[in-house]
Structures are given as structure tokens and as C-alpha cells.
């Protein structure tokens, strides 16, 4: 147990270090803020819609000790709004996603359906910006609702997933040209650290929750020593005629160990989207 805690602490420390590294890449180069014309607060910087397919791995010991894997359909949208144009610029980035996956166990005899609605709101400040690089970092709020439904189980057929929490996030943008074609690569990393989650007790049935209400153990404090929550997106913007395409991968993980139960979900989603609005770049250079 102690060894496990030390491992988790080390792991989360690495994560935080990673976020700091990425944030500091900008500051390390040259801490300067872009001096472009002040845009009004609330200006929508960009907006994009995505469709994706993903591979999901789920293990929820409330339902089954088996690991379930399968494909999922994903829809998502991303919207960035300017929150403050004066001093150090700040932005609100909303990543909203819904997914549904059909999963099976290794023996291909069991089936589970996983479904989630996931919203990540990141408030980030610009730490570096020039013609090629933009680096932002800040905090985020994460709201997740969903569940896993086992198609065979009797009185424990489903496990609900509910989480609300806050953490740290960062985003880096690298702009480059290949020939005359401009590209932009975006890397977003978010790690909700503290929050509240829901879990039934070890042998508690939803029938009992329905009949007798929640117990003291059904709402748990989620922290780095009992849960693991991260989201990362690596996307590239590709101009295609008059349309701006955005494609890349999203890695999403949400795991926790509470009430002697372990829930583990890892998603890797391949996303393709269209940038609907790109009136201003982060540096106001219209890209």
C-alpha cells in the first residue's frame, strides 16, 4: 500500500513537472507578450467541431475484473474565447466531448457499453508568444458524467461515472510553413487534480442507493493519491482550400481506486474536425 502510494506520488509529481516544463518552454525562450491591437473581451478566437473514432480500454471491478476493449464513436467541439486582452492575455478554452463505445472482453463473450459526456474548461494565460510559438498555461475545471453498462450482470449492471474537479493545464502552439502552406501544431495537456466523484460502495447495489439514498462513502474526494485524471490532445491545423481542417489524437484517462473498487478508463481517439471560426490567431495575426 505504501509502495503504491509512493509510486503514485512519483507519477503525479512527474505530471506536474511535465506541465511546468511545457509552460516554461515559452518563458525560457523569451518571455514577451504579443503587442497586437487590443481585442475586445469575449472575442471568440476559434471554434471547431470534431468527429472521431477511438479505442477504449475499460476495467471496472464493480462490474467485472476483466479488462474490456473496443471502439467508440466520439463527437467533440472546441471553443476558445479571449478573456482579457490587457496585460498578460488570458483565454478560456472549452473542450466538450461525448463518446459511446461498444466493448468486449478478451474472451469475446462479455459486452459492455461505455458512454460519457466530458467537459473541460481551461482558463489559460499566455506566457510566450511570437510568430512561431505560443505557450499558455493555467487552471481547468472538469465535469464528467457517464457510465459503463454490462449487458449480462444482474443487480449490478451499470457503474455511473460522475466527476467534478479542478486542476492544471497548458497548451503549446507551433506554427510552421511547408512550402507556402502554413500549418499549426497544438498540444494541450490538462490534469484535473482535486475534485468530487461518485462511486458505490464495494458490494452496494444501486437498488440500495435507490431505496435508502446515498451513504457517506458514495461521494469521494478525488485527489492524486486515489485517482488519475488526464487529458491530452495533439492536433495539427491543415488548410484545405477555404476550409481549415484540424486533426489529431486525443488521449484521455480517468481512473480511481476508492471503496476497495477500481475503475480504469483509457481512451485514444483519432479526431478530425473543421475549424469553424478563426478570425484571430492567438497573436492576432489572423491565423
Amino acid at each position: 500500500m505504501k509502495k503504491e502510494l509512493i509510486q503514485m506520488a512519483r507519477c503525479h509529481f512527474s505530471r506536474i513537472l511535465a506541465l511546468m516544463c511545457l509552460s516554461m518552454t515559452g518563458m525560457y525562450v523569451n518571455a514577451q507578450d504579443a503587442n497586437v491591437g487590443a481585442l475586445p473581451k469575449g472575442t471568440e478566437i476559434q471554434s471547431a467541431s470534431f468527429l472521431g473514432i477511438g479505442g477504449h480500454d475499460v476495467q471496472d471491478t464493480y462490474l467485472s475484473p476483466n479488462m474490456y476493449s473496443g471502439q467508440a464513436l466520439v463527437v467533440a467541439s472546441e471553443k476558445t474565447t479571449l478573456m482579457s486582452g490587457k496585460g498578460r492575455r488570458s483565454y478560456l478554452n472549452k473542450w466538450t466531448k461525448a463518446d459511446v463505445g461498444m466493448l468486449s472482453d478478451n474472451a469475446l463473450r462479455g459486452a459492455e457499453i461505455s458512454f460519457h459526456a466530458d467537459m473541460l474548461e481551461s482558463r489559460m494565460w499566455m506566457f510566450y508568444d511570437d510568430a512561431r510559438f505560443t505557450v499558455l498555461a493555467g487552471y481547468n475545471m472538469n465535469f464528467l458524467v457517464g457510465g459503463v453498462y454490462n449487458l449480462r450482470n444482474s443487480n449490478n449492471p451499470a457503474q455511473a461515472k460522475v466527476y467534478a474537479g479542478a486542476g492544471l493545464g497548458t497548451m503549446g502552439i507551433w506554427r510552421f510553413q511547408y512550402g507556402y502552406v502554413p500549418f499549426a501544431v497544438r498540444l494541450s495537456l490538462d490534469m484535473p487534480l482535486l475534485g468530487l466523484g461518485f462511486s458505490p460502495e464495494y458490494g452496494q447495489l444501486y437498488y440500495q442507493i435507490y431505496e435508502n439514498g446515498l451513504t457517506d462513502h458514495n461521494i469521494f474526494l478525488s485527489h492524486p493519491f486515489n485517482s488519475d485524471n488526464f487529458s491530452g490532445r495533439l492536433m495539427i491545423d491543415i488548410p484545405a482550400g477555404n476550409v481549415q481542417l484540424r486533426t489529431g489524437v486525443e488521449l484521455r484517462g480517468y481512473s480511481y481506486k476508492v471503496n476497495n473498487l477500481k475503475s480504469h478508463q483509457i481512451e485514444s481517439n483519432l479526431m478530425l474536425g473543421i475549424v469553424k471560426k478563426l478570425e484571430y490567431g492567438y497573436n492576432g495575426r489572423n491565423r
Partner: protein
């Protein structure tokens, strides 16, 4: 400089996507792996191990030793299923099953080792052809003005309007017989819905608990099970007899327990079959599904009812009366209810 930035960014990615909460190790999909998985599921999640150790000396560690000897690496799925099914039958629990594509292992001795005490032919002699059906219940007023309702499964949907129709039909009856013999259970929701028609006030009928961890004695504080009167609907105010046999299991066992806590209710027949653990499910590495008792229910005196409930008046089906087309258990119930009129 750019290289430094890229290196840092790359390092950040690698670090960020390192998993902190690792998934549990899964068992190997081999005969011994499946046996171990099944044994551990029961060891950690089954709710009656301690109780059954006291009742009949169940030694779950010994069970593993006993059945692991029957496992060989190249055994067929059929042979493995037989071993695992035999291992589960040590629990003597009708709520415990192993499901494969080909078969379902079960323990049915809770009723097969005892007199049936129910005959559909005899019941049909009382129902005749002009009985009514509502909410899954067959019902009729018998010649001596006693209402008779037969409920064969708590999986049959009960509606409030259906129950109102039944009680309206029985409005002028002197008593009521609820025949739940050989009712193997179903929904606890329907069970409490039906019981709520027989009380005018909230009554404590028992407790329910659940496991809080893998230890054999890790249980939550028992939560009260209350019967709340169905205030907005017809409620029965006259004497009631509940007819029981060994086929009364699970939700029906809970129904008999709950009814026995109410005034004007008499349980007549044979001991019920039991089954007081609310079942849950899990799975083996080979994809077989296992059902097991997960949350124990107790009487209002915190006694286990896993092995059934004794009736107030013990009656078996009399073969002599049966030969005459009469159900001795129904006749006893009628005589009891009519005796209350004197």
C-alpha cells in the same frame, strides 16, 4: 534553442501520459486461472461465507484445495464447467449460478429435496375457468366469500391500478388468501409495492447490509427496511393468509418475511426456500458469468433468513385430499380465515 523546446515538449508529453492508477492484473484464461478467479470473486464478494461457516461448517479455503486438485491444464470446457459448478454448489445457495453458453450451473436442493406442496391442477379446481387476471395475479372469490389470489412470479409486473382492481373485487370478502407457493422471486420493488397494501402505518420489517470490502466480515451498518403504507390506494384491512412452500425464494422469501411482520397476517404452509442475499454478478477470464449473493437481508430481529422462514401453521399437501381434488393447504387457510369470523 528550438531543439530544446521540442525536447522539453516531448518530455512533457511522455510524462503526462504515464498512468498513475494501474489497472488490476487480470487472471489468466486457463483452467487454473478461471478457478482462482471464481474462488476469489466468491471469497471477496459473497456475503454469507461467515454465516455458512457457522451454520454448516463451510470452509472456503478448504473448498479451493479440494477443487484445485480436479484442475488439469488440458481439460475441456465442459469438464471445467462441471468442476466450477460443483465448487459453487458448496455454498448451498440458489442465488449462485455459473453461466456459460452451453449450460447454467445451479443449486436447487433448497426446494428439490423437499415436498413440492403445490399442484397447479388442484389450484385450477379452485380458480375454475372464470377467474380474473390483473397485475400478473389470478384471482377469484371462493364459495365461502374468501378472496383467493395466486401470484406465480415477482417478475410479473404489478401495477397500482391492477391492485386497486383486485382489492375492489374483494371488497366484501371476509378474508384473503395470497398463494405465493413455488414463486421463485423476482423484483423487490414489486414485493414492497404489494406489501404496502396491507398496512396503515410504516412498519420495520428487517434490515439490509452490503459488503464494504473483500474481508469476510466487512459489512456496512444494517439499513432499515420499512414498509410504507400505500396511502393513495386501496389497502386491505381484513385477515390475510399467505400460502408458502419450499419454492418461495428470493423476493418471495422477503415478501413472506415482510408480511409476517404485519398484524392480521398468518403464514400457512411449508418453510420457505430462503435466498435472502440480493444477487450481483461478475465474470471469469474465459467470459463465463457468475451470479452470487451480495447484500444480505435480515429479519427485524437481525436474524438471517437465507435458509427460509418457518410458517405460523405448518401444513403439507395431503395426498388423500388431493385425490379428491382438494388442496389441503388452501382448505386450511379457508378454515383459518372462517374461524376468525366466529
Amino acid at each position: 534553442m528550438k531543439k530544446h523546446i521540442l525536447r522539453l515538449a516531448l518530455m512533457a508529453c511522455v510524462l503526462c501520459f504515464t498512468q498513475c492508477v494501474k489497472p488490476d492484473d487480470t487472471y489468466e484464461d486457463t483452467p487454473s486461472g478461471n478457478l482462482k478467479a471464481l474462488w476469489e470473486i466468491i471469497d471477496q464478494r459473497y456475503c454469507f461465507l461467515e454465516y455458512k461457516a457457522q451454520e454448516y461448517g463451510l470452509d472456503w479455503d478448504g473448498v479451493y484445495q479440494k477443487y484445485s486438485r480436479r484442475i488439469v491444464d488440458d481439460m475441456s470446457e465442459e469438464a471445467l464447467f462441471e468442476v466450477l459448478g460443483d465448487m459453487l454448489s458448496e455454498l448451498r445457495d440458489g442465488h449462485v449460478n455459473l453461466y456459460s453458453v452451453r449450460d447454467v450451473s445451479r443449486y436447487w436442493s433448497w426446494y428439490q429435496d423437499y415436498p413440492v406442496n403445490y399442484s397447479e391442477d388442484l389450484v385450477n379446481n379452485y380458480l375454475g375457468k372464470d377467474f380474473r387476471i390483473a397485475s400478473g395475479m389470478y384471482y377469484k372469490i371462493l364459495d365461502d366469500n374468501i378472496g383467493y389470489m395466486r401470484y406465480a412470479s415477482f417478475s410479473d409486473v404489478i401495477s397500482e391500478s391492477g391492485l386497486d382492481a383486485i382489492f375492489a373485487h374483494f371488497l366484501l370478502c371476509n378474508g384473503l388468501i395470497i398463494d405465493v407457493r413455488s414463486n421463485g422471486g423476482g423484483s423487490l420493488e414489486y414485493e414492497s409495492q404489494l406489501v404496502s397494501r396491507f398496512t396503515n402505518e410504516s412498519v420495520l420489517v428487517g434490515y439490509v447490509s452490503h459488503k464494504t470490502g473483500p474481508g469476510h466480515e466487512q459489512f456496512s451498518e444494517p439499513e432499515e427496511r420499512m414498509v410504507i403504507p400505500a396511502d393513495e390506494y386501496y389497502r386491505w384491512q381484513k385477515p390475510v393468509v399467505v400460502l408458502t412452500n419450499r419454492g418461495c425464494f428470493s423476493a418471495t422469501n422477503a415478501f413472506v418475511n415482510d408480511m409476517s411482520c404485519l398484524p392480521k397476517v398468518c403464514i400457512i404452509g411449508d418453510r420457505t426456500g430462503g435466498g435472502s442475499g440480493i444477487p450481483a454478478s461478475s465474470e471469469l477470464p474465459n467470459g463465463w458469468s457468475v451470479r452470487f449473493s451480495s447484500a444480505p437481508m435480515f429479519t427485524k430481529d437481525m436474524k438471517h433468513i437465507e435458509f427460509g422462514i418457518e410458517p405460523d401453521i405448518k401444513v403439507d399437501l395431503d395426498p388423500v385430499m388431493a385425490a379428491q381434488g382438494k388442496d389441503s393447504m388452501i382448505e386450511t387457510a379457508r378454515a383459518y380465515l372462517n374461524s376468525l369470523l366466529d
